[in-house]
Symmetry: C2
Subunit: 529 residues, 2 copies
């Protein structure tokens, strides 16, 4: 973690890979034998070997932006624009590995605060240029791929200079954060006051506060600390037609809760420039355990019982038989060959007294439901590697293995149906695929399902993946579930959104879009059907 406030543009992640190159992992022992390594996929081409489309902005336009933001905060060079092209889905990475930069922005602009954002939006509206907010660049559903049709170009609005803790209200337990703060930075700023936010999605190390809000993110501790949107008490949003500040109180009856209209709006309704969140005392104790269940269904039923008793620990996740066998560091520890037990991770955080009380109650409940405690070994292994999967994906891609994730959410009574449909769709669409799944988040009334798919990439892994993704999405729609639990809509899920919210829901989104963005410059093509 760092509390440094970088002032230079920091392209920390390579265009085609996740995270810090120094931390890249090779394939773990054993994995190489599992996969057919026929077509290794080449990594990032050199800049000289790719064609970055020329910026469509005129010199006068660039000068105009520089007059607003300063010379150094308007960047048009090819490498920077390549690094701000798309996000980190597997298709995004595969397109970058191919050198496809067709979606490159025409300039990267770096506002220093809310007023700068307002100025950029005014400029963009006047110049009819699209604006794509860019936080950590970790989008996985095409949320950074704007459609410039009818517009003069695309600005990537890099929020990397907006990384402040603007206000702290220890009495109300709230903190006001700028959108460009990455997860670890936000936690470090709060930790200096003995506080934490407690939002730990897998993208935690790179993803940003603004991105969490714009996509309705959900983290690995959501059982205890809630989804990100549930942590938000107030928002400030800049739009081309003015700003809006929402959240005069924790909750109220002052009409519809308009916070919920800008949360999840994915840059299409405005740029979130301030986020006020509930914070908590840093936990004094953290304990993560493993529990073994005889089947995925038995474990899921136990999760349901906890959620419906309002007896949730801080962390609660359950791997299916495949994921338990394949994805854990030491599968032997929790079951043997032919013994496809399922591993649940149960984590407790808080004061010693609160952890002890919760642990006693949860342990009693899980024991009564048939779970077998596995001690802290599996829990610590999970905690150690909880942010590492994207690195492993890069190594698998290097070795010709197509790997991607997708997720959904439904009510408990539909869980098995949804699981079976999505799994079958993926297996049918990708011959030889291995489909893993875990329950990543639970509610009293339902749960999310998070799938990981690995398959031989073949000669054209992108062409292999896209129909499989479509088949999975169609299975989700057919099952009546939500097209996404926490990855957001972006452009990839947009074709399926109307099935979920109806024609009238789509009409409402378009009406709001027109009201706040009459010229359609905000992340055009994303989210709104």
């Amino acid at each position: 973690m760092t509390t440094e406030h970088p002032t230079a543009l920091q392209p920390e992640m390579p265009a085609t890979r996740w995270g810090d190159p120094a931390l890249a992992s090779g394939l773990p022992d054993g994995v190489r034998d599992l996969v057919g390594l026929v077509f290794p996929i080449a990594d990032t081409p050199a800049l000289a070997d790719v064609v970055v489309p020329a910026s469509r902005l005129s010199a006068a336009q660039v000068d105009g932006l520089r007059a607003l933001l300063g010379e150094e905060n308007v960047v048009t060079d090819d490498e920077v624009r390549r690094l701000r092209t798309r996000g980190k889905s597997t298709p995004d990475l595969l397109r970058q590995r191919r050198g496809d930069l067709g979606d490159a922005p025409d300039a990267v602009v770096r506002p220093g605060g809310h007023d700068d954002v307002v100025a950029v939006l005014a400029w963009a509206q006047e110049n009819r240029v699209a604006v794509v907010p860019f936080g950590g660049g970790t989008a996985v559903t095409g949320g950074l791929v704007a459609d410039p049709a009818g517009l003069a170009g695309i600005l990537s609005l890099d929020l990397g200079r907006m990384r402040g803790l603007l206000a702290l209200d220890p009495v109300s337990s709230t903190a006001t954060l700028e959108p460009g703060l990455r997860g670890p930075e936000a936690e470090a700023l709060l930790a200096a006051h003995g506080l934490m936010l407690g939002h730990f999605p897998q993208s935690f190390e790179y993803a940003t506060i603004g991105g969490f809000a714009a996509t309705r993110s959900s983290g690995q501790s959501s059982a205890g600390y809630g989804r990100f949107d549930a942590m938000v008490v107030a928002l400030r949003v800049a739009t081309p037609v003015g700003e809006v500040r929402l959240g005069a109180s924790p909750a109220n009856a002052s009409g519809p809760d308009l916070r919920e209209l800008f949360l999840g709006s994915e840059g299409a309704f405005g740029v979130i420039t301030e986020v006020t969140v509930r914070v908590r005392p840093l936990p004094e104790v953290k304990e993560y355990e493993g529990w073994r269940w005889s089947s995925f269904a038995a474990g899921a039923d136990a999760m349901r019982a906890l959620a419906q008793s309002d007896l949730l620990p801080t962390v609660l996740r359950l791997s299916d038989e495949n994921e338990t066998a394949i994805n854990l560091a030491d599968p032997e520890a929790i079951g043997g060959e032919g013994n496809p037990d399922c591993l649940m991770i149960v984590g407790y955080e808080g004061t010693p007294a609160a952890v002890a009380a919760k642990k006693a109650a949860v342990t009693a409940a899980l024991t009564a439901l048939g779970g077998a405690p596995q001690g802290t070994g599996p829990g610590e292994a999970w905690a150690h590697g909880r942010f590492n999967a994207p690195y492993l994906r890069d190594s698998l891609l290097d070795n010709g293995v197509l790997v991607e994730t997708l997720e959904t959410v439904t009510f408990w009574s539909n869980r098995e149906n949804l699981y079976a449909r999505v799994k079958a769709a993926l297996e049918a669409a990708l011959p030889g695929a291995m489909v893993l799944c875990h329950v990543s988040h639970v509610y009293a009334t339902g749960c999310s399902l998070y799938f990981t798919v690995a398959a031989p990439g073949g000669e054209d892994p992108l062409a292999a993946w896209l129909p499989a993704k479509a088949a999975a999405c169609e299975a989700i729609v057919a099952a009546g579930a939500s097209i996404t639990h926490h990855h957001a809509v972006g452009t990839d899920h947009k074709p399926y959104l109307t099935a979920e919210i109806g024609d009238l829901g789509a009409t409402v989104l378009r009406a709001v879009k027109r009201a706040v963005d009459p010229t359609g410059i905000l992340n055009p093509g994303v989210l709104v059907p």
Copy 2:
């Protein structure tokens, strides 16, 4: 409680009074001496002594409606229209006592289900007639007072025939309810399955599921069971341009949460025809206790500590010094003369094990914070009288005492400021007023304040009250708090809404309104600035 499904129009509440006339109370001993009984306010005039405006609907229009809904479900007689005029705020009651029926609807229509509602909305759009959804008639902020400007009249859309439990999903713990179900009826239908909803606002006995959803209601057990909007997982809404079903899952990242746009929409965006809510097992144990605090601030700080530790009981409320002294059945029990201690009610519901565990933890926390347990006496007294205040209001009005309530919500750090400002505003505007307050709902980041005002009514209690209400609203706005925590916006709070959500927030509401109600027939004049 009753599970009967009434088929006749039942005007259970008198036009000018609350509840069942058989249960009307006189003034309790001692209260008579406290108030100046100079100008008793006359009760409901006989129908013969009031002027009910003639229905503006033509005979052909009434016939048209009857063709849609059946003869008996379209009513235009004066007494029924009087009973559907306005709600149950004190100004509403005072206007009825005066015989002022200027806001009477032109007809009362009673749809039997979603399709009937769709048909009425289509008819109303074609005939340019306003539609005001009517559930329990318990609105207290002018939500039943539509503005017919530019329209041909007003229909009161009485939801009293839509009182079914449409679906029950015991695995997911959800139930789908029709909007006309009153609180006790909904609970009785669920109790037959061993389940409950757990939403107990003071209006519980008359208010309806649809009204709870349309106003973002919050109940007396919200500390444990949450606000009503937090209980809702799905909605079906009829609008003049089509229907929308929202809630494919408990929570998701499928764009903005559009449920939150129809929750709190007060009939202005559509008619809520189905509400799917989380349900729970009926509690096996209910225990309500009193706790004494040395001051309102000390008690509020204790509530804050519980909320910020995620250690909330099922019921948690705290009366200020005035309310403690005046409003409780036995004030002597919790303090003596000159000892303005404050009473907190702490209630636990659930399984014996869950209640015991929660009670032990809460008791330890409250004891450490300086609270003094008062046993179950004050708690049982509160539980016994929890729905009685509106009856007392009628008796006070009968005796010339102006009495009304209002409420707001803010962050914890602003609680004392908000309390002082609103109290001072009311005391300044109403000479001789007694202002009582309690914290009715708490969140980790803030709390609501619920004020009760009693003052000599004088010759014109309505003229006395309206400027006091305005002064209180202005104090709330000046304090930066929300104009309402759970009473909703209606017409009374509409002038203050833009201060809370901003010009752009108001623009968004208008844009949604135009999209779902292009001819402006849905509860016109309510909510949308």
